[in-house]
């Protein structure tokens, strides 16, 4: 009897598993839940550093993701753009990993702006607040060029100035007009689902403080850069996006906010709390449900194996 039950527990049809996974990950999308987990140190450090950047500063933002990893990367990108817009920081966005990435970034900012305008907030506008510096197929070469001479690395790039309606050099825009070298940028962010995280550390280290935002599977190997102090902040996967949204809502080491014993810096919550919690908050509970299911199924498989062995021995 034990063997029969054990064998059955070990051989559940895979389509049942797929159906259960589909169901359990869909439920939290329709009934939003909150998951009480403390933010990772890397996320808290990232938030603290970004909130300390003086208003009006420019950050260099490598948007090296597409919708294939939107579960992880889109939440991170949206959180960063919302913080930049709230803090009146400017962003120079470029891509070295995927030719689709610049358009994906542009579309995502348009989505954020549609919500901001609906909520009565000013849009995060192209040319005045951010510029798109395009896609460069050779990440190694372009990053070396950025580290050596930022102006030549993006020479001849133009964008439309909405005030004049004409194409102008991006270095005439409010975003880049005071930027001559990489160290003029307050921070360098890389939101990536590929090896450009490694290349960024190799090429841009010591030129400006670096922040990496990577997918969940890249987390363990990227942590080395954070632990060694080579990067000043690290967000990993959808948990990183969730952490940032939590910090944006509550602040870090401030009264009523998130308390971190390892990160001594304090940072207030965002001044405008409208629509602060979005993709990370929405996607993190389904991940929790999927992990619970994974644990349960592994336990069931092992119980089945134990029962089968017991049954075989009793015979």
């Amino acid at each position: 009897m034990a063997k029969i039950i054990g064998d059955k527990l070990q051989s559940l049809p895979k389509y049942w598993l797929f159906a259960i996974l589909f169901l359990v990950t869909s439920i939290p999308l329709f009934h939003p839940l909150s998951v009480p987990t403390p933010p990772d140190d890397g996320s808290a450090d990232l938030y603290a550093h970004l909130m300390q950047v003086p208003a009006g500063s420019t950050i260099l933002l490598a948007s090296d993701w597409t919708n294939s990893t939107r579960g992880d990367s889109k939440g991170q990108f949206v959180a960063i753009i919302k913080i930049l817009a709230d803090r009146k920081l400017k962003a120079a966005i470029y891509s070295t990993a995927d030719a689709q990435a610049p358009r994906v970034a542009r579309d995502t900012i348009a989505e954020i702006n549609a919500v901001r305008v609906k909520n009565g907030q000013p849009p995060y506008s192209q040319w005045n607040d951010w510029v798109s510096l395009g896609f460069y197929p050779s990440a190694e070469g372009q990053l070396s060029s950025i580290a050596t001479d930022l102006r030549k690395a993006f020479a001849s790039k133009t964008e439309q100035n909405p005030a004049t309606g004409e194409q102008q050099d991006v270095f005439e825009s409010p975003v880049l007009q005071k930027i001559y070298k990489l160290s003029d940028c307050a921070l360098s962010f890389t939101i990536t689902a590929s090896k450009t995280s490694d290349l960024t550390v190799e090429r841009l280290l010591h030129k400006t403080p670096l922040v990496l935002m990577v997918t969940g599977v890249m987390g363990p190997q990227t942590q080395n850069y954070y632990y060694s102090g080579q990067i000043v902040g690290l967000a990993i996967g959808v948990k990183g996006a969730y952490d940032l949204e939590t910090l944006m809502a509550k602040g870090l080491n401030v009264p009523g906010g998130i308390v971190s014993t390892k990160i001594p810096a304090s940072a207030p919550p965002l001044s405008n709390q409208t629509d602060v919690q979005s993709i990370g908050t929405l996607f993190y509970p389904p991940l929790q449900f999927a992990l619970w299911l994974l644990i349960i199924m592994v336990v069931i498989g092992n119980v089945g194996m134990a029962l089968s062995k017991m049954g075989a021995q009793s015979k």
């Binding site: 060029s145 001849s156 929790q288 644990i295 592994v298």
Partner: protein
Amino acid sequence: MEFLAQTDPGFWFGQPETMDLRIKVIGCLVFGFVLLAVLLNVPSRWRKYIVGAITFFAGLFWILQFFWPQPLHRSPTDLPANPKEVVSFWLDDAVPVVSDFTSILTAMLTLLGIFSLLRVHLGRLFKMQKDWAFSLVLAIAFVCQATFSLWDYYDRKANPQITAGHGWHIQNYMSDLLFDGMVQQFEAAMFSMIAFYILSAAYRAFRVRSPEASVLLGAALIVMLSYMGVVTQWDGFVKSMAGSNQFLLNFQLSVIRSWIKDFVQTPSIMGIEFGIGIGTISMGLRLWLSLEKTGNI
């Protein structure tokens, strides 16, 4: 030596969408094809030396750029004071131009990939070989995506109000449908399917069959649980039970996870990465010095 290291925007820089740049692009393309034709007609015993020399000098540039002392806080009016600084300044000025070369070469590789893909699939389509229907889908998708995307791009440049969402035409709707409505959603769907296979594989393969597998399973469970809401409840329970007993505080899930990450996972990955780094250097040296004999030149 000024050839690559031009301090002012010179020959290698062109303003976009100007006749000057178009002439340079066409000229370089013609030059490239001529060079390729010459290379293909060179006797094979010489060809490997030519390719080897080009590889060596291309690699030498980046090695020098990495290892040679770089100028610090250099201003545009600074002049090199000694031979070491001459090389240093030259490398500094040449990097943007050479990195543009690498970008162009990488883009050409994409073109080569497209050419190769189309040659295989159009050949299969015209000969009506097995699975020709898939090749037809690929050809139609390629033509539609390229046509509507380029049309949309030039339309947006001429009419900026399109980007703001006004005055859309067929090319804008089609580009939006093909890129945002299809390609991006297909990518997301393809990657999300991995979750189903991970669950199925974990259920079937993650068994406690040996001490090693038990340790692996235990560590995985602790790390997964520590990322869940359960961590706050368990840690709170341990803190309340431990009181002033520092040893018992070690049984908090977050503390165990930190120990696993800091003392097991990170050092292991560092070791693996170090090994990969040494292997990469070894392979890079073989390629740079043309010691790698695989493949025909």
